[in-house]
C-alpha cells in the first residue's frame, strides 16, 4: 500500500520507535523566539546540558518587539528584559540570533521560508503554534510547549506519537476577490475550531495547487485554528522555484540532489487517509469571522447564525461570544462601522500581501474613523516593500508601513486594539482579548481588510472589484 506524504517525511525522521512509547523524531531545524524560550534555557542550565545542535537552532525576536523606532531601546521594561535575555542565552549557548536591527529579523514563520531554511521534506518545530506555516513546503512543522523546546534544545529530537492523517481537497476556480485566507477561513468554519484535532492535514486539489507559496503558507498557518497538529502541501515546481537561490538553500550539486528527493514527496495514489474532505472553490465567498474563535466565520454577505440553531449545551458559549462581540442573532456584518484595520501577522504579512493591498489602495484614502497599521513580516519584506515604492502608496492612503513583528496579532507590544473597538484583522485569532483586553476582532483577508479601511465599515471587496476589474 502507498504512503501519505506525511508518513514519508515522518518515517525519514524516526530515530527510534518502540512499542508503547512515542517515536523519537529527529528535528532538522528548531526555531526559537524570546517568549517561549527563557524557561527552556534555564532548564538546560539546571541540568548542566548544552544545546545539542546549536547550528540547527535559529533565533529571532518577534513577539514582543515594537513596530516603530526599532533602532531605539525597547521602552517597555519587561519586553526589553525578555528580548535581552534571548540575546544573552543565544550568546551563551552558541545560537545564531536574528535580533532587532539584523537584516534577517522578523516573524519566525516569515523568516524561515524567506531565508531558505524551511525546505521540502524537513521537520521544523518552534514554541509557537503557527509553526504549521512551514508545512506549505511539504514539511512536517508544528508548535510545541516550552518543556518540548527544552527537549529539542537538549537532544535535537522530540517524543511524538504519530497523528492520524486527513486530506482536505479544494478543487475549482476561485471567485474574484477570494484568496488563500478566505479558503482557510471557509474550511475552518465548515469543520470547526476542533475539526482537525489529532490529525496531520494534507491540503490538495487544483485550487490549492494554483496558489503561490505565500498563499500556501497562509493556508498551512491556520491549520492549528482547526486544532490540527500540522498542515502540509506536497512540493511542486512552485515550491522548488521559491526555495531556489535563497540564502540558506542548497547550492550546486547539493541542490540537484535535494530537488531529486523533493520530487518523491507526494502522497501515493493508493495512500490511505483516516479522513478525506472535499470542498468546491466556487462555494467560497470573501470570509469574515463574527465570533471568538476562528471557526465562527461566515461569507461576508451572510448573517450571524441564530442561537437557536445550536444544540442546547452549546448555546451558553455561543451567547457569551456574541455578547463579547457586541453582536446579535441574524445580524449582518456588512456595513458595520469599524475602528481599526491590522494588516500583518505570520498569516498575512508577506510581500504578496503587501503588494495586493498596495495595488488596491493606490489612489484611495482610508476612512476618518479608522486607524490602519501595516506591519511587514520581516525586515526583508519591509525593505522589499520600500524598494518597490509600496511605502509611498501606503503613506498616501493613510496606511503607515511599520517595522516587523507579531504586533497587534496578540498585542504583546504596544500595538493593542482598545477595549470595545472593532478591528478587521488579517491575523489568525479572534479570541477574547487577543488583540488587547476587550478588543473585538473580525478576521478577514488582506483585500477585505483594505477595502474595509477605505469605507470605514465591513465591506464586500467584490463591490469594488465590479468597478475596478482588479484581481
Amino acid at each position: 500500500m502507498g504512503q501519505t506524504l506525511f508518513d514519508k517525511i515522518w518515517d525519514a525522521h524516526v530515530v527510534s520507535s518502540n512499542e508503547g512509547f512515542p517515536d523519537i523524531l529527529y528535528i532538522d531545524t528548531h526555531f526559537i523566539h524570546e517568549v517561549t524560550s527563557p524557561q527552556a534555557f534555564d532548564g538546560l542550565r539546571t541540568r548542566g546540558l548544552p544545546v545539542f545542535r546549536p547550528k540547527q537552532t535559529v533565533a529571532t525576536a518577534d513577539h514582543n518587539v515594537p513596530t516603530i523606532d526599532q533602532h531605539l531601546p525597547i521602552k517597555e521594561e519587561l519586553s526589553r528584559y525578555q528580548v535581552d535575555m534571548l540575546t544573552k542565552n543565544c550568546k551563551e549557548f552558541g545560537i545564531e540570533l536574528y535580533g532587532l536591527g539584523h537584516p534577517y529579523q522578523g516573524i519566525v514563520h516569515v523568516i524561515g521560508p524567506e531565508l531558505g531554511i524551511t525546505r521540502p521534506g524537513g521537520t521544523y518545530v518552534c514554541g509557537d503554534s503557527h509553526t504549521s506555516t512551514h508545512g506549505a513546503f511539504g514539511a512536517i512543522a508544528f508548535g510545541i510547549g516550552t518543556s518540548q523546546v527544552e527537549q529539542v534544545m537538549a537532544t535535537q529530537c522530540l517524543l511524538q506519537s504519530r497523528p492520524k492523517r486527513m486530506k482536505i481537497e479544494v478543487n475549482g476556480k476561485l471567485h474574484k476577490g477570494v484568496g488563500a485566507k478566505d479558503i482557510i477561513l471557509y474550511i475552518i468554519a465548515q469543520i470547526s475550531a476542533a475539526g482537525g484535532t489529532g490529525y496531520a492535514v494534507e491540503y490538495a486539489g487544483d485550487t490549492i495547487r494554483s496558489l503561490s507559496m505565500e498563499g500556501r503558507m497562509t493556508i498551512c498557518n491556520m491549520s492549528i485554528e482547526m486544532g490540527a497538529r500540522c498542515g502540509l502541501i506536497a512540493p511542486d515546481e512552485t515550491t522548488i522555484e521559491y526555495v531556489k537561490g535563497r540564502e540558506f538553500a542548497p547550492k550546486g550539486e547539493e541542490w540537484d540532489k535535494a530537488v531529486a528527493y523533493w520530487k518523491t514527496l507526494y502522497s501515493d495514489a493508493d495512500a490511505q487517509f483516516d479522513e478525506v474532505l472535499s470542498f468546491r472553490a466556487e462555494d467560497i465567498e470573501p470570509m469574515i469571522t463574527y465570533g471568538t474563535n476562528p471557526g465562527m466565520g461566515i461569507g461576508v454577505t451572510q448573517h450571524v447564525p441564530e442561537t437557536a440553531s445550536f444544540e442546547a449545551k452549546e448555546q451558553g458559549s455561543y451567547k457569551k461570544a456574541l455578547e463579547y462581540m457586541g453582536l446579535h442573532d441574524d445580524e449582518t456584518l456588512l456595513g458595520k462601522p469599524i475602528d481599526y484595520v491590522f494588516i500583518g501577522s505570520c498569516t498575512n504579512s508577506r510581500i504578496e500581501d503587501l503588494r495586493q493591498v498596495a495595488e488596491f489602495v493606490k489612489g484611495k484614502y482610508k476612512a476618518d474613523n479608522v486607524t490602519v497599521w501595516v506591519v511587514p513580516g520581516s525586515k526583508q519584506v519591509q525593505e522589499q516593500a520600500i524598494r518597490e515604492g509600496l511605502d509611498k502608496i501606503f503613506d498616501a492612503a493613510g496606511f503607515p508601513l511599520r517595522e516587523p513583528g507579531c504586533s497587534a496579532c496578540l498585542g504583546m507590544n504596544e500595538d493593542k486594539i482598545p477595549a470595545g473597538k472593532y478591528c478587521v484583522s488579517t491575523s489568525n485569532r479572534n479570541f477574547e482579548g487577543r488583540q488587547g483586553p476587550n478588543s473585538r476582532t473580525f478576521l478577514a483577508s488582506p483585500l477585505t481588510a483594505a477595502a474595509s479601511a477605505i469605507t470605514g465599515k465591513v465591506t464586500d471587496i467584490r463591490e469594488f472589484l465590479k468597478e475596478e476589474e482588479l484581481v
Partner: protein
C-alpha cells in the same frame, strides 16, 4: 530530572462549563513576559476573573467561595489556540492537579502532561453528569485514579475509564522525565545523523 508525581486524587471540583476555552483566556499574552515558570496562577483566567481595574468579577467561578478543589471541569476543546505552556503552568500554579473536559486541544494536552497536570478526557455524557453533580451539591467530590485510569463521581458512584498514553502515564506515576529518556538513546541520535 525527576518531575511531579501524580497517581490518585479525590477532591471537590471547580466547574467552568464553557466550550472552546483557548489558552489566551487561560493566560493572556500580556502576562507571558516572565522568564521563569513561577507565579502564573495569579493571572489564571485574568480577564474573566478581574475587571479592568483589577477588581474580582463576582460572577466568575474562581471568585465564588462556594467552589474550590483541585480539579477544573470545563467544556469541550479545552486549551485550543496558542501553544503557550504558560497556560498549563498557570492552572497548576493556581493549585489544580487535573483538568476534566470532553475534548482537549493537542498541544495543551501535551503541555499539561509535561507539568504533572493530568488532562482527563471523558464522554460528553459523563461531563454532563459531573456538571449536574456539582450544581446539585457544590461540594460534590470527584475521584481520579491514574493508575487504574478511572474517574468517579463519589456521591453517585458513577464512573468512567479514560485513556492516557502509556508512556506518559509511566512518567507521571513515577516522575520520569522525557529528556532523560531521549538522552538514554543518544547513540541512536548520533547514528541517525551520520546516516543522513
Amino acid at each position: 530530572m525527576a518531575t511531579k508525581i501524580f497517581k490518585h486524587i479525590q477532591t471537590s471540583v471547580v466547574p467552568l462549563p464553557i466550550e472552546n476555552i483557548d489558552t489566551d483566556q487561560i493566560i493572556p499574552a500580556r502576562f507571558l513576559k516572565a522568564t521563569t515558570r513561577d507565579g502564573f496562577g495569579n493571572n489564571l483566567f485574568r480577564d474573566w476573573r478581574f475587571d479592568g481595574d483589577d477588581n474580582p468579577k463576582p460572577d466568575f467561578v474562581l471568585n465564588n467561595p462556594n467552589f474550590s478543589g483541585k480539579i477544573l471541569v470545563a467544556g469541550k476543546n479545552f486549551g485550543c489556540g496558542s501553544s503557550r505552556e504558560h497556560a498549563a503552568w498557570a492552572i497548576a500554579d493556581y493549585g489544580f492537579d487535573a483538568v476534566v473536559s470532553s475534548f482537549f486541544a493537542d498541544i495543551f494536552k501535551g503541555n499539561a502532561l509535561n507539568n504533572g497536570l493530568l488532562p482527563v478526557q471523558v464522554s460528553e455524557d459523563f461531563l454532563k453528569k459531573i456538571f449536574e453533580a456539582i450544581y446539585a451539591d457544590e461540594h460534590a467530590v470527584v475521584e481520579i485514579d491514574l493508575v487504574d485510569q478511572f474517574i468517579k463521581i463519589v456521591a453517585t458512584g458513577e464512573q468512567e475509564t479514560f485513556e492516557v498514553n502509556p508512556y506518559k502515564k509511566a512518567c507521571m506515576t513515577n516522575g520520569y522525565d522525557d529528556i532523560d529518556y531521549i538522552l538514554s538513546k543518544k547513540e541512536l541520535i548520533e547514528e541517525f545523523e551520520e546516516s543522513k
